[in-house]
């Protein structure tokens, strides 16, 4: 029988999982799908989150109710259920690419969490700042835009970064609607090769590197934002 040492076995598994039949391309395509879905979802989630936060902070009862229901429902149901409802029910017959439907689903989901982060950030700003803005002769929206938001954004930035990271990892469920992301590509390789170790570790490493790169980039951005506080 062919005896291989540990490293030879690793090399053999690696070749069988990723090189044979160019399976590495599955992972590469998966990375692109994950990035594509995540980026659109982050953008959409930020916009929705901002709007819902304004609804939740509004004095208008109707807007407040809308914001409250949105946050409550989204936070109270699993994201995989939301994804499947959006894909198989709401957009069942719509001629929209799968990845875009997934992005919309994750954007809607993330919006609820982002809205709470933004709401908390705005409310953390001292009431005196609003009074100062109003007394200077700024109207409510100018006070929000020029005085409150710049301060709130600095405070919420770390929490927003955390939400983006969670969102990227959350996209690992897109396989449920037939999208070949990193996780699904790993699963596919696992099934084709009957080897669990190599594809699953590759999946974990790819996610880790993606998130590490994002974290480092966001940290640099945060550093730049904080720099304006020290002169």
């Amino acid at each position: 029988m062919d005896e291989r040492n540990f490293f030879q076995q690793l090399a053999f598994d690696f070749t069988r999982c990723f090189i044979t039949e160019d399976r590495w391309q599955l992972l590469l395509k998966g990375i692109l799908v994950t990035i594509e879905v995540s980026l659109v979802a982050i953008a959409l989630g930020t916009v929705i989150g901002f709007l819902i936060a304004l609804c939740n902070l509004s004095k208008n009862k109707f807007l407040k109710t809308i914001g409250g229901i949105y946050t409550d429902v989204i936070r109270g149901t699993p994201s995989v259920t939301q994804l499947m409802i959006i894909y198989f029910v709401i957009f069942a017959t719509a001629p929209i690419p799968k990845w875009l439907i997934a992005s919309i689903a994750f954007g809607i989901n993330s919006g609820a969490y982002v809205s709470e982060i933004i709401r908390a950030g705005i409310q953390s700003i001292d009431k005196g700042q609003t009074e100062a803005g109003r007394s200077l002769g700024l109207n409510a929206s100018q006070t929000m835009t020029h005085i409150i938001m710049p301060q709130a954004l600095k405070n919420i930035f770390p929490a927003l970064c955390n939400e983006f990271i969670v969102l990227i990892k959350e996209t690992a469920i897109v396989g449920y609607v037939g999208l070949m992301d990193i996780q699904k590509a790993g699963d596919f390789i696992k099934s084709a090769t009957f080897s669990a170790f190599m594809p699953l570790f590759a999946t974990a490493i790819i996610y880790y590197v993606l998130i590490k790169v994002l974290t480092l980039g966001l940290k640099q951005l945060e550093k730049k934002l904080r720099k304006s506080d020290v002169r």
Partner: protein, 233 residues
């Protein structure tokens, strides 16, 4: 007709058992260029009255008229313009914008005015010129309050509203701030309405109004006015 007419101002907070009547019908007339001190213990309604004069808060009843123009009749847009044009506000806790430096904080006021005073001149008058590039948290309480005064007066407002301007400051710095407010009043002729619970400050006022439980208990013209420099407590 007085420059500022305050008529029948009433205000309450809460409902039912938790209802608190903060102001129970306040009538005051203030002339242009006067320094008016609103005295009273905590909860007497003096800050609420100042906020209503400043258009930051609404009255339940009554009206404020500046030069015969009633603020209650103004739309939100007009009220914003009213604050921009007529009012400068100095707060107890300064309320400076933390991410803007001292010069930028003062310039916010100038930016919103169509007849602003010269920023550098104001900074020099306030003794802040050498600190102009620092952030508020790099300055002492007195320097921050001076910045707040600068931000308020750079618009050259007709009315300077001061809510416990020395409430967070020590004796020496408090006197500096009061002297500055007096100097501003002399130099630019603004009407000053100052809320305080420090009884000694009434001596620098042209007129003193004592509030208690939301009503005026005493109002008189100060015949023995002294300079802020001569105040002692």
């Amino acid at each position: 007709m007085s420059f500022i007419e305050i008529k029948g101002i009433k205000k309450h907070y809460g409902e039912g058992e938790s209802r608190v009547d903060v102001l129970n019908g306040i009538d005051i007339e203030i002339e242009k260029g006067e320094i008016v001190v609103l005295l009273g213990p905590s909860g007497s309604g003096k800050s609420t009255l100042l906020n209503i004069i400043g258009g930051i808060d609404d009255a339940d009843d009554g009206y404020i008229a500046i030069n015969g123009e009633k603020t209650a009749n103004m739309s939100e847009k007009d009220l914003t313009l009213y604050r921009r044009k007529h009012l400068g506000y100095v707060f107890q806790q300064y309320n400076l914008i933390p991410n803007l430096n001292i010069k930028e904080n003062v310039e916010v006021g100038a930016y919103l005015s169509d007849k602003p005073l010269e920023t550098d001149e104001i900074l020099k008058t306030l003794g802040l010129y050498e600190h102009r590039h620092k952030l508020p948290n790099q300055l002492s309480g007195g320097q921050q309050q001076r910045t707040s005064i600068g931000r308020a007066i750079i618009k050259n407002p007709d009315i300077l509203l001061c809510d416990e301007p020395t409430g967070a400051l020590d004796y020496k710095t408090s006197k500096e701030i009061l002297k500055l407010i007096e100097e501003v009043n002399h130099k630019y002729g603004n009407t000053v309405i100052m809320v305080t619970h420090n009884d000694a400050i009434k001596n620098m006022a042209d007129r003193v109004i004592k509030l208690r439980d939301g009503a005026i208990r005493k109002e008189y013209k100060n015949e023995t006015k002294v300079s802020a420099a001569d105040l002692d407590w």
